[in-house]
């Protein structure tokens, strides 16, 4: 064989439409994981405003909570966290060898519950929001 043809990265990312449940679960799990790590840093940054005294802390928080985007991000954060937890439980089951035949269903279920919780949380997060 003289030469051969390597199709490169396109094979991995050009085909997202054809992914199946397990693959989506994997991608979402990675993504939500990174988002949570990112949040951890902003969380620490916000909390450390308390170093400048209680007033500064209250001010920062009130300032942030007054923003609509922040409220929106909070709903998003909840959704991300819930999905990561639920899919984590799903992966735990997979590791224990329980219900591997239902892995796709449990993924859809995680998505559904995540969606439901995110929607249900909207009234709580969106009270008294200034635009």
């Amino acid at each position: 064989m003289s030469q051969s043809y390597n199709r490169g990265l396109i094979e991995d990312f050009g085909r997202w439409k054809e992914f199946s449940a397990g693959m989506w679960a994997w991608i979402f799990h990675k993504f939500t994981g990174w988002v949570l790590i990112g949040y951890l840093f902003t969380h620490i940054a916000v909390l450390s405003s308390a170093l400048a005294g209680p007033e500064a802390y209250t001010e920062t928080l009130q300032g942030l909570e007054a923003l609509f985007v922040v409220r929106l991000l909070e709903v998003g954060l909840l959704a991300v966290a819930v999905f990561h937890i639920l899919n984590g439980i799903r992966l735990l089951m997979v590791d224990l060898g329980i219900g591997l035949d239902a892995q796709d269903k449990s993924f859809y279920l995680s998505l559904l519950i995540t969606g439901a919780i995110a929607v249900a949380s909207v009234p709580t997060f969106m009270t008294d929001v200034g635009f």
Partner: protein
Amino acid sequence: MSTQEQKPEPDTEPEEPESQEAPVEQRAPASPQQRRMQRKASNLAERERQAAEDEAKLEGDTVHLKVFRFDPEVANKQEPRFDDFHVPLERGMTVLDALIYARDEYDSSLTFRHSCRQAICGSDAFFVNGSQRLGCKTQLSELDQPVRVEPLPHQEVVKDLVVDMEHFYDQMHSVEPYMQQEDLPEGDLAEMRQSRENREKIKMSTRCIWCGACMSSCNIAAGDNQYLGPAAINKAYRFAMDEREDEEIKEHRLRIIEQEHGVWRCQTQFSCTEVCPKDIPLTEHIQELKREAVKKNLKFW
């Protein structure tokens, strides 16, 4: 889709061999056997009529294939491209049948591997409409048109649909896929017995046909060339779980699969389980080996 699904007629179950009952039944004038024969004949006629109808319906229907073409040795095929073929449909036609037709009738340079045409030899795994499938096991009627046929992803293409399987075979061999039991039972013709339960346990894992579909679908294997891959780990499972091998051999096997590029690379994407044409629960087997490996290591504490 014009291909009709054939409903099995209620009473076309395979008839039992008649020879044993025949003498008894021939005594009565309209014996059960005669009635059965009659029913059979009419069923046959019905089925033939149906088949002819279906045939007529398919008459003139073609399937549109888009086939990947590449050949480093031919000047105008060095740049990969897709060729279109319109193949006349037949009832029960598979992707492989269509490819064979295209090769025989339109372009004899179209190259692909195939042999058994019944999902046994494992030589015709292709990337059909976005997933790894065996050409001979995939009915055209279940695919959307145009049917895109490409060589397996993550393996280098040698020519058209032929990919280089060498690496896959190397991985398969690296788990030592053969019986290594040294203590054989006494006596000339003594058999090495396996319990029914144990046979049942490894049954699915013995069905691998080395087609490479699983390896091709695995993202981890794509990124880490040294990763053993689902098929090789499944092979390891087949022997590690076989009770006819001694404990030390099992430990040796577990040592192979728990290396850096062994079972722990698997991130349970389930892509391999999804595409395996022999329905082997690959992820399940990999997970079980992970647990076995942990158990083995705990023992030494």
